[in-house]
Symmetry: C2
Subunit: 232 residues, 2 copies
């Protein structure tokens, strides 16, 4: 039987976190979704998330749920927006603090766990019907990523540790849904001084011979403290 | 006697909204604070805010509290960030959804009301000790304003309907805490095509003879839909 031991003078909402997880794979931006194994919205797809506990803040909750439901940890994660519409959840009043995370797809195997039946990457052009108001959360997350990638080096969180400039350009073109001039992009990105050249080139296709770079995190911190603007 | 009629299986936090209100006055960026008339933190200064009701979402709550505590309505207001640290409020677990608002100071008389004793504008260089974690909320709000004013026309929300280019430059310099070149600023701002010239100049000091402009909201909407970047 249900116990209802927590009593208050005024009604209170439940608070959850939900996390939109972006990955980049073969020229496609993808989202990690969990098929809900329980009601409400059983069988629909949703972002990993769950109820915030009494002894954790929302960052801790978002990271715990991510770990429990997907096995992911130590990845870029940031608060997105809080959704508090009165009727957004059939269980009653639920406020969700939404997050977004960026994953280097090459580094992680995703596993489903907990109360989730199934975890799967979907290209953003082929998102299945989502539970609750998760379609609204997704739109907000995509807009945030598009906005921020222009002036913060978020893109590097989605690429392998070492990447070529054509790969980086491809990421920007995919996220922003625009075509960029190859020579101009190369010039701009090298002028930032944020890439470390490893004087090493890749063997395989499709960018045979292209030089490998990595992102200079320390240099970025230094520049951003003095007002640097990472503008593509 | 207190009634405790709302019982749940798991503990739930209270949810509040708080709103950081910016105004711009005589070359100073100011914040509207309320002196708390009740415990906790009685006598300290805080942002207007309060508990979210069962039948309102967080936007509605933030606007209602603003109206009740300061008389302000129909102003620019936007969600900022949600603060959910476990110990941020001595009353127990309280999650606050923070907002920020921008006010044309010339248009409003501020009144204190409700459970607040006193409402007052403070220059951001002279903020008194704040209640709860409101100093953290304030820092986040200032950073958001500084970031956004570079690529969204937020500045116009802080100026009178009609303003001169030196006034606009002064606003940008104050918010960003930098000096801008007068000729360069004028050229950039006119090149955006977002200012309507009223072919009318002000009579008084200190900018005698400077032309009056207003912001072209419709043009901005049009440009921002096609990916316009308002970069100062």
């Amino acid at each position: 039987m249900e116990t209802k031991n927590y009593c208050y003078e005024y009604p209170r909402p439940s608070v959850t976190t939900d996390c939109v997880i972006f990955g980049f794979d073969n020229g496609e931006l993808k989202i990690l979704l969990i098929e809900r194994g329980i009601e409400p919205c059983k069988g629909k797809w949703a972002f990993p998330g769950g109820f915030m506990r009494e002894n954790e803040n929302s960052d801790e909750c978002a990271k715990r749920e991510l770990r429990e439901e997907t096995g992911l940890q130590d990845i870029f994660i940031e608060q997105l927006f809080t959704f508090a519409d009165v009727d957004r959840d059939p269980r009653g009043r639920v406020v969700t603090i939404a997050y977004y995370a960026l994953v280097k797809l090459t580094q992680y195997n995703i596993q489903a766990g907990d109360d989730a039946d199934n975890a799967k990457w979907f290209p953003i052009s082929q998102i299945p019907p989502l539970a609750f108001d998760h379609d609204r959360i997704l739109r907000m997350a995509i807009n945030r990523l598009r906005g921020k990638i222009r002036y913060q080096p978020l893109g590097f969180e989605l690429l392998p540790e070492r990447f070529t400039i054509p790969e980086l350009q491809n990421l920007y073109e995919t996220v922003l849904e625009i075509k960029l001039d190859r020579r101009n992009f190369r010039k701009k990105i090298l002028a930032t001084g944020l890439l470390i050249d490893h004087n090493e080139s890749i063997k395989g296709q499709p960018h045979k011979g292209a030089n490998l770079y990595s992102f200079d995190e320390g240099k970025y911190q230094q520049l951003s403290n003095t007002g640097f603007n990472f503008e593509i």
